[in-house]
């Protein structure tokens, strides 16, 4: 599994837990607020879990700019592509 696919899988798993949507039904173009019903607190909890899993920091600006599942995956993949010690990727 390539790095991007691994990140995508982990992001979908975290979102599935947070949004109570089955992981198989989380599509890359799903809108976080509208489709996954992620409220602002849910977004904070998701960001916290992803920060822990990938050993990164997601600044407020990045958090407010992501709209879809793919936006998150792109952001994390870019932040982690050269990391070797992060859990889950």
């Amino acid at each position: 599994m390539d790095h991007y696919t691994q990140v995508e899988q982990t992001v979908k798993e975290v979102l599935a837990k947070q949004s109570k949507v089955d992981v198989a039904n989380i599509k890359a173009d799903a809108l976080l607020a509208e489709d996954l019903r992620l409220d602002s607190f849910g977004a904070l909890e998701t960001a916290f879990e992803l920060e822990e899993k990938f050993a990164i920091q997601i600044p407020n600006e990045a958090l407010s700019s992501v709209k879809t599942v793919k936006d998150i995956v792109d952001y994390i993949a870019a932040q982690t592509h050269d990391k070797t010690n992060a859990d889950g990727c």
């Binding site: 909890e45 960001a47 920060e51 822990e52």
Partner: protein, 414 residues
């Protein structure tokens, strides 16, 4: 203007000697101790190894697994007791005007478990990258708010924190708010989950907890000559308080009527009761006055009775000041002898005990009372409970910081 009358129509109780109102009440009638050796955690610096732990409680029986994971143990207790109390009172909130229903709960300490876990992890990892859930999980009002969210009730929503008297103040303030027409129904009560390492250690350092580690079931022994402190316990009670007309209209079961309440302060010390008990006797007297009765009408006192040297002596002195010679004829007993000191839950659990005592016409005992302390010489109902004619009963709660609350309940008469 004539005050509105307030009755208790539902109870939900969780304590170390019983989960569920009937299980708890039977245990109390029979003098069953819920206290044992501390099993939740251990540390070499703890000199007390005794606790009243709630063992037979599975939160997922009362709420979704997701909610179980999202809230602290004190909220589990609050939500579970609410569900039990609503079922007991046959109250379907979907049929109620939700603007007229409130949640007023006592908690002395809030979400300590999560607080401590986060704090310890932060120090271990040398980071302040804390969970965003810290504030909503730790804040004491999480309990009243989650109850309000769960049932969509839109009336007054608050947590009262007055240490060991929190639950009594919550019931008392809910009573007042129904009396004064701020609401018609209130989910009131008290909750506490204080059995966490840091908090347990903190109470040990105050040197107020029993160290009778070799005989834990005998550790909580209010009024006994050889008492050596209280036993920290966890638990909760929710009482559905309801305006009388509202309760009658829906043909609700009625345990008892709340007829009097008073609260005051000793203005003396943050952890020591005022030695003469003048604030405690004033609170009892004011509650009697509020109820429009006389001291002669009180048939039973559910005492604060923590099992510390100072509290039990002072409370006895205060009872004598209010009831004079009649103090010796009134049965006085301690729920804490069986379930330890549940801090913010205690006053609510004891209010529920008063309601059950009235309904069942039975005075529960003070267990472990064996040797007479010359300073504590009333009828403490030692060891064995007894049937009694109970029309009017008094419940005392005296919290650290001299936060005092007294409640009076009576047998319901139309």
């Amino acid at each position: 203007m004539k005050k509105r009358r307030v009755v208790i129509t539902g109870l939900g109780i969780i304590a170390s000697n019983g989960v569920g109102t009937q299980t708890f009440w039977e245990a109390n009638k029979q003098g069953v101790s819920g206290t044992g050796s501390l099993t939740r955690f251990d540390h070499r610096d703890l000199d007390s190894k005794v606790a009243s732990e709630v063992r037979d409680f599975e939160p997922s029986q009362f709420m979704s697994p997701d909610l179980v994971d999202r809230v602290d143990r004190f909220v589990h207790f609050g939500l579970a007791c609410t569900q039990m109390a609503l079922a007991d009172g046959k109250l379907d909130l979907s049929k109620e005007d939700k603007y007229r229903v409130g949640s007023v709960i006592g908690s002395g300490l809030g979400g300590l478990l999560f607080h401590e876990q986060q704090m310890m992890a932060a120090y271990e990892r040398d980071t302040l990258r804390l969970s965003p859930a810290c504030v909503p999980r730790i804040t004491p009002n999480a309990v009243s708010s989650h109850i309000a969210i769960q049932y969509g009730v839109l009336g007054p929503n608050m947590v009262i924190s007055t240490a060991c008297a929190s639950g009594a103040h919550a019931v008392g303030e809910a009573f007042r708010k129904i009396q004064s027409s701020d609401m018609d129904v209130c989910i009131s009560g008290g909750v506490e989950a204080p059995l966490t390492l840091f908090t347990f250690g903190a109470y040990c350092r105050l040197r107020v907890v029993s160290r009778r580690n070799d005989a834990p079931q005998e550790a909580s022994r209010p009024f006994d000559l050889n008492r050596d402190g209280f036993v920290l316990g966890e638990g909760a009670a929710v009482l559905i308080l309801e305006e009388l007309g509202h309760a009658v209209e829906r043909n609700a079961p009625i345990y008892a009527e709340v007829i009097g309440y008073a609260s005051n302060s000793g203005g003396y010390h943050i952890v020591i009761p005022e030695p003469e008990g003048t604030d405690a006797s004033r609170a009892m007297g004011d509650a009697i006055k509020d109820a429009g009765i006389s001291a002669n009408d009180i048939d039973y006192i559910n005492a604060h009775a923590t099992s510390t040297g100072v509290n039990d002596r002072t409370e006895t002195k205060a009872i004598k000041a209010v009831f004079d010679k009649r103090a010796y004829d009134i049965p006085v007993s301690s729920t804490k002898s069986m379930i330890g000191h549940t801090i913010g839950a205690a006053g609510a659990i004891e209010a529920a005990v008063c309601a059950l005592a009235i309904k069942d016409q039975f005075v529960p005992p003070t267990i472990n009372y064996k040797d007479k302390d010359p300073a504590c010489d009333l009828d403490y109902v030692p060891g064995v409970g007894r049937p009694a004619k109970l029309n009017t009963v008094l419940s005392n709660s005296f919290g650290f910081g001299n936060c005092n609350a007294c409640l009076i309940f009576s047998k319901f008469k139309e």
